[in-house]
């Protein structure tokens, strides 16, 4: 191969390809014809073949100084950190309208009723500091359990929760006390305030529940006004609160804004018994000191026994 010879220059690229075994058959024939006449290029082909075999060695030899172990370990820890922050979400239809469910590695972090999908996703992204991805399959299980719950085929949602967005200790205490409220039971905001040992913090309790990141799962719908009014739910979605309570068998007055306390069994404080609402002085007591149950079944399912004096088992409330 000489730079002066135009044919040598023309076939050079194909000659190099030939050494690597990559030349197209047509091109290879042209090169072969030239090689038959050109000693220089024959030598050159051999040199490129030697070079190719050196490259093969390069492939086999370990790269000096390249120990990936440390980098791999650091990478694993960075990924673990991202994974811990990462939130996956799905948007689903439900009898309560469209819902966004988001989870982290630790558990369900957000259940959000949607007005606008876009707004909800950007709210989530803001909460999660950008580490958000749509992953319907990742939350689908939870969604199906939720549907069963809304269809009365399930009374518990035992999901692991990630309460990273429950701002303060106080809010977490409020949510924990609310999570204790059994299916089919209600109490008041003042009742929750009393349970967490801050009886005067009624407004703060209401605020904490208003910002409940995981409604339904943490049943803030079971917390009502002291008068029995269904106040404040997910903004102003009183009708959702009514729907959730009704499906649990809590009697809601025909006009739909107040529970029917006279039609509910009552447990005073931490008693181990439940009563008809007219037992003793119960009907005059503040809801704050009571837990009300929609049915005997609900009361008994949490281990309560019928009161020995009013005997709700013998004199049940008429349905």
């Amino acid at each position: 191969m000489t730079d002066a010879n135009p044919t040598c220059r023309e076939i050079e690229r194909d000659l190099v390809a030939m050494a690597a075994g990559e030349a197209a058959s047509g091109a290879a024939r042209v090169v072969e014809r030239h090689l038959a006449r050109c000693r220089e290029c024959r030598d050159e082909l051999e040199r490129y073949r030697v070079l190719e075999s050196m490259v093969t060695d390069l492939r086999r030899e370990p790269v000096p100084g390249a120990d990936p172990a440390l980098s791999r370990a650091e990478l694993e820890s960075r990924l673990a950190d991202i994974r811990a922050r990462m939130v996956a979400y799905g948007i689903f239809s439900s009898p309560l309208g469209k819902i966004l469910i988001a989870r982290s590695e630790l558990g369900i972090a957000l259940v959000e009723y949607l007005n606008s999908e876009k707004a909800a996703v950007s709210y989530l992204a803001q909460l999660a500091g950008g580490e958000v991805r749509e992953d319907k399959a990742g939350v689908e299980m939870v969604y199906h359990e939720l549907l069963e719950y809304l269809d009365r085929r399930r009374t518990r949602l035992d999901w692991p929760l990630d309460l990273r967005w429950a701002g303060s200790d106080f809010q977490r205490r409020v949510l924990a006390a609310t999570a204790e409220l059994p299916y089919g039971a209600v109490t008041s905001y003042a009742g929750i305030a009393r349970r967490i040992g801050t009886p005067s913090a009624v407004r703060a309790v209401a605020q904490a529940l208003r910002r409940n990141p995981v409604p339904i799962v943490i049943p803030c719908h079971r917390v009502i006004g002291n008068s029995g009014d269904l106040v404040g739910y997910a903004g102003n979605r009183i009708s959702l609160k009514r729907t959730l309570l009704s499906l649990e068998g809590v009697p809601v007055a025909a006009r739909g804004r107040r529970i029917e306390r006279n039609h509910m069994y009552a447990r005073a404080g931490a008693d181990t018994e439940y009563c008809v609402p007219t037992c003793g002085s119960l009907s005059r007591q503040s809801l704050a000191g009571l837990t009300l149950f929609g049915s005997r079944g609900h009361a008994e399912s949490v281990g309560l026994t019928p009161c020995a004096s009013c005997r709700p088992d013998l004199h049940p409330l008429s349905a």
């Binding site: 190099v16 390809a17 060695d57 030899e61 790269v63 390249a66 791999r72 990478l75 939870v142």
Partner: protein, 179 residues
């Protein structure tokens, strides 16, 4: 219960590909420290985009594309480019390898080839390494370098030509009888 919370398919991607991507970046940056950083960055970016990757995508080629892109960005800074050229020049002048001291290189010929490759212009170095060391298809190399498969092929060709010129003393053993 929420299932599938701890299973992450990306763990397998890291397990299968990290060492190779790291090796690629050590070769193309000539510095294992930078390869450590860039390979981590490659996988962190990949992790964030992984969900959106079509199921039939070639994950390996995709990772090489991310790594290549990061590598080019890395060298784009003029200062770094100068530093790299200084390193490359030092390597090419055979004052010794850029690898940590004391690292013995068994094969002298391979070491020499490594130094020549380290001194190639960036695109040629990347194209050469992708093709000849990691054996990617030209199509994939083109995607990595954001050029056509044909341009990728041309970069590899130019690299081979330069390497050939540097190895001016390559011995030729004639299989055919001399006339």
């Amino acid at each position: 219960m929420v299932k599938g919370m701890t299973q992450d398919p990306f763990e397998a991607v890291v397990a299968v590909h990290h060492a190779e991507i790291h090796r690629y970046l050590v070769r193309t940056t000539s510095r294992s420290g930078e390869a450590d950083d860039l390979s981590q960055e490659t996988f962190v970016r990949a992790y964030r985009a992984y969900q959106a990757l079509p199921p039939d995508a070639n994950v390996r080629a995709w990772l090489f594309a991310i790594a290549t892109n990061l590598c080019r960005n890395h060298f784009r800074s003029e200062k770094r480019r100068r530093q790299a050229m200084a390193v490359a020049a030092a390597n090419a002048s055979e004052r010794g390898p850029a690898w940590p001291e004391g690292e013995a290189i068994a094969n002298q010929a391979t070491a020499r080839l490594d130094r020549i490759v380290a001194a190639l212009p960036l695109k040629q170095r990347l194209a050469f390494t992708l093709r000849k060391v990691h054996e990617l298809e030209y199509e994939a190399i083109g995607e990595s370098l954001q050029c056509s498969a044909e341009s990728a092929r041309a970069h590899v060709f130019q690299a081979l030509k330069k390497i050939r010129r540097e190895l001016h003393d390559l011995a030729v053993v004639h299989a055919e009888p001399q006339p």
